[in-house]
Amino acid sequence: MKNQEIIEKINGFLVEEFEVDADKITPEANLKETLGLDSLDYVDLVVVIESNFGFKVKGEDFVGIVNFQDFYNYILSKVGEKQEAK
């Protein structure tokens, strides 16, 4: 899967899961504020990542993620690691 396809997939499940307008999701936008995440919602973020990409995320992995670009980069690197492992 190409990077752009992965990003589109991420945006798709974020819109679906957190019920936000797609046009509010931009690389620079703040992830927590845009999605309206509280502490409980991070649990559901772990669930949707696992169900879409098949890897488990640890809570501390979210510490450095501020905007959507950070989030994309994190997912892309994890997907890359998974592909290398194959």
Partner: protein, 406 residues
């Protein structure tokens, strides 16, 4: 002591999703029982159940409010919305009067089983998601309603098996009567999914009259062969009389008596003495003789032993006056944790509309039910005072008495 009145009711049941539909179903003696293919596939002895529409709450509640709601919580949200509307309550009144919530609920099986399946499969508890714990606890209904409706008074769940809903109203009545609360949103909720009823099906207490689902629930009939499970939710908003008058709320009826007891016997086999003590306690609390009761909404679930003992208890207490009796479970099936609340709603609809709903499918009374004055057809009649019975596993009994406010 405060007088306690009912100012709003709401219902989401297999007889209809709202008061008007349910009133019409009760009057017509319409059954809500169906054959459930999923139960047949799962190996149930009985595939019969009451069934309701799956609520669609997207667009009504936000995501966080929705994901904590188990199936029965969704039903309870809708019945409560209806009750709040007809009680003419709003957020400001609820806040000012510190309304509480007491619901009967005694399981949340689907949520527990689905989460357990995920943990077993994935070996990672996080993957159950954030809503699972709030759906899984027995207090799921009250914790969610209290949050959604911003309630600030009493907030807990009453688990008393198939008398849960009735005890919830009884406890609310007690709190208001003694001045501890001005208003409480009471009710009962019951999940319908097969997971919630598998172990009950195992006891072979469900009817297997599979060729005639609408004739399967036949309380007091000699040829009954067991109960039919069902579910949904019912809400009964109660307030002090003073509070209701002060805010110009509709007064639908007054709760004048609550009686309770425990059989002190077998876990599933009832007896006569336990229900009689609850009935007599409710009459003492109401301060009225038995012959003032115009109608009894019986607990009778359509099991031979349960119906027999209730018939004997009713004959023991009401044998002299023989009020009209019917079991609305003949139409709804057994709504279990919800039944004590839904049957207050059904009885109140009868009181408001001057009729007694029929005990459908009663064709041949047995020795005990023949002694009662059971309404086999709809009877058009003024009801001033009624009594509703609810009993449950472990021998828990509850009787509530309602009186028309003139």
């Amino acid at each position: 002591m405060n007088r306690v009145v009912i100012t709003g009711i709401g219902i989401y049941s297999c007889l209809g999703t709202g008061l008007d539909q349910v009133r019409d179903s009760l009057f017509k003696g319409k059954s809500g029982i169906v054959f459930d293919e999923e139960r047949k596939i799962m190996g149930f002895r009985s595939p019969l159940t009451g069934m309701v529409e799956k609520p669609v709450l997207k667009g009504i509640l936000d995501r966080r409010q929705r994901i904590g709601l188990a199936e029965q919580g969704e039903y309870a949200y809708l019945s409560t919305l209806e009750a709040i509307k007809n009680a003419k309550l709003d957020e400001e009144i609820i806040d000012r009067n510190e309304f509480g919530v007491l619901f009967g609920n005694d399981s949340s099986a689907r949520a527990v089983i689905e989460a357990t399946d995920i943990i077993r499969d994935k070996k990672d508890t996080t993957l159950v998601g954030s809503g699972s714990v709030f759906q899984s606890m027995n207090s799921t209904v009250t914790m969610n309603l209290a949050t959604i409706f911003k309630l600030k008074g009493v907030n807990f769940t009453v688990s008393g098996a198939c008398a849960s809903g009735s005890h919830a109203i009884g406890i609310g009545y007690f709190l208001i009567k003694h001045g501890l609360q001005k208003g409480v949103i009471c009710g009962g909720a019951q999940e319908i999914n097969p997971f919630s009823m598998g172990n009950f099906d195992a006891l072979s207490t469900f009817s297997v009259r599979v060729d005639e689902p609408t004739r399967a629930s036949r309380p007091f009939d000699k040829n009954r062969d067991g109960l039919v499970p069902s579910g949904g939710a019912a809400t009964v908003i109660i307030e002090s009389y003073e509070s209701a008058i002060e805010r110009g709320a509709p007064i639908l009826a007054e709760i004048i008596g609550y009686g309770f007891s425990s059989n002190g016997g077998h876990i599933s086999q009832p007896n006569v003495e336990g229900p009689v003590r609850a009935l007599e306690m409710s009459l003492r609390d109401a301060g009225i003789p038995a012959d003032l009761i115009d109608y009894v909404n019986a607990h009778a679930t359509s099991t031979p032993v349960g119906d027999m003992y209730e018939a004997r208890a009713l004959d023991s207490v009401f044998g002299g006056s023989k009020p009209l009796v019917s079991s609305t479970k003949s139409m709804t099936g057994h709504e279990c944790w919800m039944a004590g609340a839904s049957e207050i709603v059904y009885s109140l609809l009868m009181m408001q509309n001057d009729f007694v709903a029929p005990n459908i499918n009663l064709e041949t009374p047995d020795e005990d039910s023949a002694k009662l004055n059971i309404a086999t057809k709809t009877v058009e009649k003024n009801i001033d005072t009624l009594l509703s019975n609810s009993f449950g596993f472990g021998g828990t009994n509850s009787s509530l008495i309602l009186k028309k406010v003139k």
